[in-house]
């Protein structure tokens, strides 16, 4: 029996626009308005909010990427532009998430190269873009300035702001009108606090996407699930400081023992299974965007979401 989805919620999940098309000053082929939910995910009587979006993650330095994905994607991993294009045309992703892993190198300082890579990816795909910037607080200021500037007009989603480290990314959001990811370590109070900090610095609610932090399935995901559920309950009960869409990146799934140590014949299948299952759970907990790294996960998720939405 399907339970009655009427919980007498009073709140609505806020909406965030990602990607700008030409009429809006950008060059994307489409733009998404995520959020807007009025009840728990997949429980709406009328179809109000869209299916969760699937972001395919790529990087600019594959030394910091899963060897399973690297082997599967082949030469693409050395060409973020081509990789992004493939994500759009072949894998069927809704968004591309570019992780600037090159910033993880010791004493990284080539900020200009990040601008060039971002530009190249923007040219190669027409999908709205998520950019995961600096991994090093010391260069945050320059990195986000650069990414923000290069992507001006495109309504990027920039990541990732944390409690002790949000000023640069907030500045980029304000200066160049991008949305940002606000991440807290599986803690609803910290999530709310960060949103308030961002609000105080001037970032408006419709530019914030919450990342509750996603543990891998079997390795702490139940904590993420519970934190997400509570965030969404709060939003629906009218707490505007938590009424933002959520993004989940079950990327830890590819580093767990079961996936890492799977034998060559089955490891792609196992990797996909792990990413897929974690993503489904995240979507059910309320994620508006799920991010995956294995190309084969994308289509499976698409089908699953369509089925959940359609109730078939």
């Amino acid at each position: 029996m399907i339970p009655d989805p009427n919980f007498a919620w009073t709140g609505t999940v806020g909406e965030v626009v990602l990607g700008a098309t030409r009429p809006d000053g950008g060059t994307r082929s489409r733009s998404y308005r995520i959020g807007g939910g009025t009840t728990l995910p997949f429980m709406e009587k009328e179809q109000k909010s869209p299916s969760p979006l699937i972001a395919f993650e790529i990087c600019d330095d594959s030394r910091y990427w899963s060897p399973i994905v690297n082997d599967f994607c082949g030469d693409l991993i050395h060409d973020p532009g081509a990789w992004a294009k493939t994500a759009e045309t072949t894998y069927g992703a809704d968004l591309v998430r570019l992780c600037l892993t090159s910033t993880r190198q010791r004493d990284f300082s080539d900020i200009d190269s990040l601008g060039k890579i971002t530009e190249k990816v923007l040219k190669s795909t027409t999908l709205p873009l998520i950019i995961e910037g600096s991994n090093e607080p010391k260069i945050d200021s320059e990195v986000f300035q650069k990414c923000g500037e290069v992507g001006q007009g495109e309504r990027l989603l920039l990541g990732t702001a944390e409690a002790g480290r949000y000023r640069s990314i907030a500045a980029a959001a304000l200066a160049y009108n991008h949305a940002i990811i606000a991440q807290s370590p599986i803690d609803i109070n910290l999530a709310k606090q960060l949103n308030i900090l961002l609000k105080e610095i001037g970032v408006s609610r419709d530019h914030i996407v919450i990342d509750p932090y996603t543990g891998a399935l079997g390795y702490g995901f139940e904590y993420s699930f519970s934190a997400m559920e509570r965030i969404r309950f709060s939003a629906l009960k009218g707490d505007v400081d938590l009424a933002m869409p959520m993004i989940c990146a079950p990327s830890d799934s590819l580093t767990i023992k079961e996936v890492r140590e799977a034998d060559a014949a089955t490891r792609d299948a196992i990797a996909v299974e792990w990413e897929f299952t974690t993503s489904i759970a995240a979507a059910i907990a309320g994620a508006e965007i799920v991010c995956v790294r294995h190309p084969n996960t994308v289509k499976r998720l698409k089908a699953a979401f369509a089925s959940l939405k359609g109730g078939v």
Binding site: A170, L174, A175
Partner: protein, 676 residues
């Protein structure tokens, strides 16, 4: 000497005349904000005589608007000044500047206008501004003088030459206007938001050198409306301009505008984090110790007037740790001096208590007790890493500034290890403690009209509301009344809101009309009444974070308290965790209340039930923890023997044992008015 008031008057008249003589059309390239000041103030795009006159009239003959229009016309006539002058700065560059301001890599903006008498002092002022992460704009004679003194100018040096004449300082204001529109969400024409933004968010100061004409003085004086302090070294008198000396002008300006150099890392050779707070330093791990009955020691925090102390200054008077014998006990005086615009003398003791936390944050430093009873240790490990007495001072100065950024403008620390000076300082401190005690014996609930709420936990206990009073800290023990007040000052829309207590409804239970009203609203209509001092009737709700639970034991007509750390069974037949599960979640459970440990020591504790005489049982570890403060408190209340009459798990494990114990010792609760 030029009289600022007179000159402003004359200047404004001259500007008005000139506005009426505008003849040509003008506009700026590379901006979406037209003439930004005029556009921000009125929403009108000024480009010719009529629109200029219109905006000028609309803004009440504003000298900023007049100067902006006149400069734009002049620039249109003669073209942009050649490099190094920047003239009007494009939106693209402003975005980057705004970015740096939000990002915190620039702390604020400064304008230097006029012609300094000596290149040396102007260069020194610029250097100080650079060191303090201010972005400085220059207009007029100051530019060639700095250049000739070899000072490098340009964005890379955070010294931007706007133009050769003082009127080019208009661009300073048009930058602020655009930052407000780009970053502050100020819509063109919304004057009140613009002024609020400029006053509160735009961290800008103005330094004026001599040689300004009346019109230019009117322009600069006009910037006061935006809340920029105008500072001057010489050449001007009167008006609202602040006189200063070359050594103090930058600091004075930054203080006036509340621009603070943020402390991010504490420059000491040991870790500093709340994570180390619980770690004690045992005798054999200790390098040296201070106080604890082994040597004289004290701590004192005092408020000073702005400008009296130098922020971040740490002074050590007497021998340093490296000449102290290993394992020895030495005298120590910790004196912290603070200034802050909203700092009050009443906050002194509360801030002073933070010394305890902060010293314990140090990986190799340890602190217990307070005032002239303190006991401080530094570990051998920390000593080996190079930690000195001085570093305790740095830690304290930095932590106070980091944790109270909006309350404190400057913190200076003096650490004395000289035996004689410590004794003198201690006597002085003792007279101050006595004064404080006499004055307010801690802040009392009756001394204030406003309590503070805390709804931080509503994210998981949606209808829970804590009401925090001076005598009843939040049930988690983490937020005192002062913390609530400071939190509200820092974030007016946050989880701590002021609660007007309103009319008194029930003095014994601590029920107030205003509190009830607030609680009803904040609990989304769930809770109608809230007694601050009663466990039995309409007690405060509990979220889940309480340090301890107070609950009635009808069998013995008393109330027991169990703390979170205690894992065993209680005479109620329930463990802490079972009890916590029963009362948490934002429900009101008569007979049960979540409380902080410190509340047990408050005069308000169990007031509704007749006072601390109702307390019959606590776990032994909690009794031990509270003992040093509980014994004198009970003594003062006239119950010197009550302490020994409170049972614990060793004397009374079950309710039957408890009844026997209380009867045997003659506990006063047995004879009190029935609880139910």
């Amino acid at each position: 000497m030029t009289d600022v008031i007179q000159a402003t008057k004359t200047g404004n008249t001259q500007l008005k005349n000139k506005i009426s003589q505008i003849s040509r059309e003008f506009s700026y390239d590379e901006t979406a904000y037209n003439l930004p000041i005029s556009f921000a103030l009125t929403g009108v795009a000024v480009h010719d005589k009529n629109s200029a006159a219109d905006v000028f009239a609309k803004t009440g003959d504003n000298p900023l608007v007049a100067s902006e229009c006149l400069l734009a016309e002049a620039t249109a006539a003669t073209g942009k000044e050649p490099a190094p002058f920047t003239g009007f700065i494009s939106d693209t560059v402003i975005r980057k500047l705004g970015y740096s301001l939000v990002d915190g890599s620039i702390l604020g903006l400064a304008l230097i206008v006029g012609t300094p008498e000596s290149a040396g002092s102007a260069a020194a002022i610029c250097r100080e501004l650079q060191e303090k992460y201010m972005l400085t704009f220059l207009a007029g004679g100051v530019i060639p003088i700095l250049s000739s003194a070899g000072v490098k100018l340009g964005l890379d040096y955070r010294l931007i030459p706007l133009g050769s004449k003082p009127i080019h300082s208009v661009h300073f204001v048009d930058i602020v206007a655009r930052v407000a529109m780009m970053f502050g969400g100020v819509s063109p024409g919304d004057i009140s938001r613009l002024l609020t933004y400029a006053a509160e968010r735009a961290k800008a100061i103005v330094i004026v050198f001599p040689g300004l004409t009346d019109e230019e003085i009117a322009l600069v004086d006009g910037m006061r409306v935006l809340g920029f302090p105008i500072l001057t070294l010489s050449g001007y008198e009167g008006g609202e301009w602040t006189p200063a000396t070359p050594d103090t002008i930058v600091r004075t300006g930054m203080d006036l505008k509340g621009i603070r150099v943020n402390v991010t890392a504490i420059p000491i050779p040991m870790g500093c984090s709340p994570a180390f707070e619980g770690k004690s330093i045992r005798k054999e791990e200790m390098q040296v110790e201070f106080g604890g009955g082994r040597s004289p020691a004290f701590e004192l925090l005092r408020m000073k007037n702005p400008g009296e102390i130098e922020d971040g200054k740490v002074t050590v008077i007497g021998p340093e740790i490296d000449v102290m014998k290993e394992g020895g006990a030495y005298p120590l005086g910790i004196i912290i001096e603070v200034t802050g615009k909203s700092m009050k003398k009443d906050y002194e003791p509360v801030l002073e208590r933070r010394i305890h936390n902060f010293v314990n944050y140090g990986e190799g430093s340890w602190h217990v007790a307070q005032r002239d009873l303190i006991w401080v240790r530094i570990s051998k490990e920390a000593f080996a890493k190079g930690v000195k007495i001085e570093h305790l001072g740095k830690l304290l100065a930095s932590k106070f500034r980091m944790d109270f950024p909006l309350l404190l403008d400057a913190v200076a620390v003096t650490l004395t290890t000289d035996a004689e000076k410590v004794l003198v300082g201690k006597r002085e401190a003792e007279s101050i403690y006595a004064e404080r005690d006499a004055r307010i014996k801690g802040m009392k609930d009756n001394d204030v009209d406003t309590y503070y709420s805390c709804t931080l936990c509503q994210t998981f206990a949606p209808n829970h509301v804590c009401i925090i009073t001076p005598e009843r800290p939040a049930l988690c023990g983490a937020i005192s009344w002062l913390d609530g007040k400071i939190a509200f000052e820092m974030s007016p829309s946050g989880a701590n809101q002021p609660v007007e207590k309103g009319a008194l409804l029930n003095a014994q239970n601590g029920e107030f009309e205003g509190v009830n009203k607030f609680v009803k609203k904040a609990s989304h209509g769930e809770i109608e009444r809230c007694s601050l001092y009663s466990v039995m009737e309409f007690p405060m709700t509990s979220c889940g974070c309480f340090e301890a639970i107070a609950l009635m034991l009808p069998e013995v007509n008393g109330i027991m308290v169990v703390n979170r750390e205690y894992k065993g069974m209680t005479p109620s037949g329930m463990t802490f965790s079972t009890l916590a599960g029963t009362i948490g979640g934002g429900a009101q459970s008569p007979g049960f209340a979540g409380i902080s440990k410190n509340y047990i020591l408050s005069d308000r504790f169990l007031q509704g039930e007749g006072g601390i005489e109702r307390l019959v049982w606590m776990p032994s570890q909690l009794i031990e923890e509270l003992k040093p403060r509980l014994v004198p408190l009970l003594m003062a209340k006239g119950h010197p023997d009550l302490f020994d009459k409170i049972a614990d798990e060793t004397t009374a494990a079950t309710i039957e044992d408890l009844t026997d114990f209380l009867t045997r010792v003659g506990h006063p609760a047995l004879a009190m008015k029935p609880l139910m």
